[in-house]
């Protein structure tokens, strides 16, 4: 059974929403990379002190919370899009073989 094809191009509003979803997906990846940074710092003997690392870590934490807060409002609306808008190609329909 062939899935219905998603539209190739989108109007401005839908396009914005798609990019917002992209941002929401990228945020945790960026966060993970930044959280792993202290691992690199503390490698050598002249590694940063725990106090500096703590300041960095908690600052980063707060920044992630703020970023998630900014994204959450528009994403909440995207959870239940207008019924007449095209289906969500963020998760393209796949057949049983995963094609």
């Amino acid at each position: 059974m062939k899935p219905p094809r998603a539209p190739l191009f989108l109007e401005r509003k839908t396009y914005r929403r798609r990019r917002l979803m992209d941002a929401a997906r990228i945020l945790p990846v960026v966060g993970f990379v930044l959280i792993l940074l202290p691992v690199l710092w503390s490698g050598g003997d002249e590694g940063l002190s725990t106090a500096t690392e703590a300041l960095y870590l908690f600052g980063l934490w707060l920044a992630l919370v703020v970023a998630a807060f900014l994204l959450s409002g528009p994403l909440r609306k995207a959870l239940h899009p207008d019924p007449d808008s095209p289906p969500d190609p963020a998760t393209p329909p796949r057949d049983e073989d995963g094609r």
Binding site: M1, P28, G31, P38, T50, A51, F58, L64, R94
Partner: protein, 913 residues
């Protein structure tokens, strides 16, 4: 402060929770009776706060101890969940959507439902969850016992006894609130509200202690940072492996821990709450972690060494005489521990009753029925069984937690115990991720992965956690079983020197994932499994069209009399009122009166989902199958649906092609019709035109011939009038000649007079002949002398006639102030084309198709002097010469292209066209 104050305070706190929970429960019930939804009880704030059940006594006490021992590493336990929540668009959103669509009751239910509603998978996950939660509950009991002990030196109660009393008390509270009803969605308003209140209590308590430490005890943040630098020790350095591994593990745990799944998915009432929780829960974790390091530093520098760092939160205010704050901290820790135990016990009890007790009971009943004993039919009997099973399970789970505490000695660091639980539940991850994203994940793979992962975890982490000599002999730990050193629990396959937790995590998860993938690749899933895989992986597509064919688990109608059995069974489970209301609504939906709807596949599916909300998908499926057995969907059914869909799509494609063809034909017909109408109008206008053309000369001929008949006409006048009559006759004759010519040409009866000539000569002749045409004004003609050297073999007379016509037209109609005509010639592949391009305003687009029609004239004025036959004759001539004449748009003026073969062969003329 002594136990005489602490015990009543703890009891009072429990009573307070009790009141909150009952108030919330009662309010929810009243609202439901009024047909409204409990809005505040189900607000995003309460949802986020209930998620804080992640922060247990481990966080409240253990995090400070962890920070004192290992520095910043404690933060990984909260950074992992932070990443999962800010990345909610990836996994949490899908998890919650599926949980709601499938009415999932627990994580075991979710996994078992995905893998073909297999109870084996459910049992496996349940057992794993019970085992993995044991250390976690023991951790809570240990922390409560420790906190009591911290206040009361020389206490009358030993920690073990105290822990036992706490366990018993929590069991009673949980049973009272967690098993009041079998809510269809497994939601517990009272408990969730109580947990939300506990979340506030523990946050306030920890923040209070933290603020007091930073600004009351010490001199603000800069002092803390200075002391932190002073207290720095080698253990605090970040270990890359553990840092990454623990962040990952904590992120996994927040998805797979039974209690987290309970509050995150099962108790979720609105998907949009996730959007709020995505930032609010990380913020909560941030706030809980903010003062951990300051408290640890203060404890290390201000308290005498040798005190248990796990209790700094409590001992700091206690030792420094802040009794009120110490009491608040005690209550905060108490609430953190109780909230975890309550939710974990409820979640596990649901799993145990749905996946172990009820299936066992169903089997025994089937056996009893086979032996001829009458099946039990009292309404509510099954409800009672399920509820009692849950109550017993709660008691059993707390008892197991106590046993772990008692056996392991209750003296280890809190964080180390908690991580064992995390690693155990992480074994569900491969099956869970496969369930959400991989259509090919199968039951065999899930079973293989879970068994492998669980065994490795038990062997490498859980059993050794009791300490050498308790459950595993010391020699086994050091030398491996039977002296096989490559099987040592802490150095599997010779990987020695790794941190034991990381070692167990690495081997259990990688072997688990390998077994899961391999099992899925080689096995072939059953029909239910394939239906479920589509429902899970494509959950976003399915919601748009609720009924996609081929996504049901039932294929054929059940027999009519089976509807009654179904009603009887549902009453046992849902209660008489709910079940009857459901059946009544279904019957009404089918347009039937009474309580018994037709047991269509659709109805069976909905009923199964309704029951699944109470007893889990696997059990609900088994119960319905017991009654209407043999009507399960088969592979053939799935294939039939698929080919049906393919056929429909093919048909619709064919229809589309046909309708396109029809549209094309209709367009052609419309164009033809328009053409005919235009021609008809032209004919009419021609008739009037030709009458006029014929009449004008005829009138003058008649008038002058009448004058001539008069007697009094002088000879000069006779000559003049005769001259006029002759001129007019010539005009008439010319007109009639044209008409005759055209008719001859159109019928292809013309005799062509084929001669050889040079193209340049023909053009020269045409230009000369057109010189006499009025108005006599300067007219430039640009030619290409070189290009005109083309030898022709054709009817040169007719061709010249065409050229003359075109050049004359250009002279007549070119409206430029300095008229000019370019004549370009070209020979290509035996065909000559001659372009006549003037610099006038050209012919408007809508008239371009008309100019070659007979009697067409762009201007109605008489100035042209012809009858509008010129270009029509030209076209007919060119057709007879095997060529064509066409208007050439876009040349900056009127442009005509005459094209024809340089050598006219017989048969290439119009007759052959």
């Amino acid at each position: 402060m002594t136990l005489n104050i602490l015990v009543p305070a703890a009891l009072a706190y429990v009573v307070f929770l009790f009141v909150i929970a009952s108030l919330a429960e009662r309010r929810a019930e009243r609202l439901r009776a009024e047909g409204r939804r409990p809005r505040f009880l189900r607000s995003p704030v309460v949802y986020t706060l209930s998620l804080s059940v992640y922060c247990t006594a481990w966080t409240f006490y253990g995090a400070v101890g962890y920070a004192a021992r290992s520095g910043l590493e404690f933060a990984t336990i909260y950074l992992g969940p932070t990443l999962v929540f800010i990345g909610w668009w990836w996994i949490l959103r899908k998890l919650v959507r599926i949980g709601k669509a499938q009415r999932v009751t627990s994580i075991a239910d979710l996994v078992s439902s995905r893998y073909g509603k297999s109870n084996a998978v459910g049992v496996l996950v349940t057992l794993l969850a019970v085992t993995a939660t044991m250390p976690y509950i023991a951790l809570q009991l240990q922390s409560i016992a420790l906190s009591f002990g911290a206040f009361a030196q020389g206490a009358p109660l030993a920690p073990r006894q105290l822990a036992m009393w706490v366990a018993a008390g929590l069991a009673v509270f949980t049973i009272l609130f967690g098993t009041r009803n079998l809510d269809a969605n497994e939601q517990h308003h009272g408990v969730v509200t109580a947990i939300a209140v506990e979340a506030v209590v523990k946050l306030v308590a920890l923040l209070a202690v933290g603020i007091w430490v930073v600004w009351g005890l010490l001199d603000g943040p800069s002092d803390i940072l200075a002391r932190m630098a002073a207290a720095e020790r080698p253990d605090w350095a970040i270990q890359p492996g553990r840092w990454m591994g623990l962040t990952f593990l904590a992120g996994v745990a927040v998805l797979t821990l039974p209690r987290m799944f309970q509050v995150l998915v099962v108790e979720n009432s609105d998907e949009r709450h996730l959007a709020t929780a995505s930032w609010a829960f990380p913020l909560y974790l941030f706030a809980m972690s903010l003062f951990v390091l300051p408290i640890a530093v203060a404890g290390l520098t201000l308290l005498p060494s040798g005190m248990n760092p796990d209790l700094f939160v409590l001992t700091l205010p206690h030792a420094l005489g802040q009794n009120g704050l110490a009491m608040l901290a005690f209550l905060g820790g108490f609430s953190a521990a109780t909230s975890m135990v309550i939710i974990a016990a409820i979640a596990l009890a649901t799993m145990v009753s749905n996946h172990i007790v009820v299936p066992l009971w169903l089997t025994s009943r089937r056996r009893a029925a086979a032996r001829g004993l009458a099946p039990m039919r009292e309404a509510g009997e099954m409800r009672g069984l399920v509820l009692n099973a849950r109550r017993l399970s709660i008691a059993g789970i707390l008892a197991l937690g106590y046993v772990y505490f008692a056996v392991s000695g209750g003296s280890r660091a809190l964080a180390a115990i908690g991580l064992i639980s995390f690693a155990g539940m992480a074994q569900v991850l491969p099956a869970l991720v496969g369930a959400l994203y991989w259509r090919g994940a199968s039951r065999v793979g899930a079973l293989a992965g879970l068994v492998t992962g669980a065994l490795v975890w038990l062997y490498a982490l859980f059993l050794p956690s009791f300490g050498p000599g308790v459950l595993m002999s010391a020699s086994l730990m050091v030398d491996g079983p039977f002296g096989l050193s490559w099987l040592r629990p802490h150095a599997l396959f010779g990987v020695a020197g790794l941190d034991p937790l990381l070692h167990a995590l690495f081997w259990s998860l990688s072997l688990n994932a390998a077994a899961f993938i391999a099992g899925s690749l080689v096995s072939f899933p059953g029909p239910i499994e394939r239906v479920q895989s589509a429902q899970f992986v494509n959950v976003y597509d399915l919601e748009a069209q609720t009924e996609i064919p081929g996504t049901r688990g039932w294929s054929r109608d059940a027999a009519e009399n089976e509807a009654e059995d179904l009603l009887a069974m549902s009453q046992q489970l849902l209660g008489a009122d709910t079940a009857q209301a459901f059946f009544l609504a279904a019957a009404k939906g089918q347009g039937r009166s009474g309580f018994l709807p037709d047991p269509t596949p659709d109805f069976l599916d909905r009923l199964e989902r309704e029951l699944a909300g109470s007893v889990g998908a696997a059990t609900a499926h088994a119960m319905i199958a017991q009654i209407v057995g043999g009507r399960l969907v088969t592979v053939e059914d799935l294939m039939a649906v698929a080919s049906e869909t393919a056929q429909i799509m093919e048909h619709s494609a064919q229809l589309e092609a046909k309708s396109e063809e029809l549209a094309r034909t209709a367009r052609q017909l419309r164009e033809a019709n328009e053409m005919l109408q235009r021609l008809s109008v032209q004919k009419d206008s021609f008739l009037s035109q030709i009458s006029h053309e014929l009449r004008t000369p005829m009138t003058s001929i008649r008038a002058f011939s009448e004058i001539l008949m008069d007697d009094e006409v002088t000879p000069e006048e006779i000559t003049r009038y005769a001259q006029i009559i002759q001129d007019e006759s010539i005009r008439l004759t010319r007109l009639l000649d044209d008409l005759l010519d055209l008719s001859v040409l159109e019928n292809g009866q013309v005799n062509l007079d084929i001669r050889t000539a040079r193209l340049g000569d023909l053009i020269e002749r045409a230009v000369m002949a057109s010189n006499s045409v009025p108005p006599q004004r300067p007219f430039t003609i640009r030619r290409q002398p070189g290009g005109e050297e083309i030898a022709l073999e054709t009817d040169t007379g007719r061709l010249t006639q065409v050229f003359i016509n075109i050049v004359t037209n250009a002279r007549k109609y070119c409206d430029a102030p300095e008229p000019e005509l370019r004549i370009n010639t070209r020979l290509r592949a035996g065909r000559v084309s001659v372009d006549f391009i003037d610099n006038g305003s050209g012919i408007p687009k809508e008239s371009q198709v008309l100019i070659f029609e007979k009697f067409a004239r762009l201007t109605d004025t008489h100035q042209a002097g012809g009858a509008g036959l010129g270009l029509a004759i030209c076209r007919e001539i060119m057709h007879n010469l095997g060529g064509d004449i066409a208007y050439l748009p876009g040349q900056g003026g009127a442009a005509f292209r005459v094209s024809f073969p340089a050598r006219l062969r017989k048969g290439a003329s119009k007759a052959a066209r």
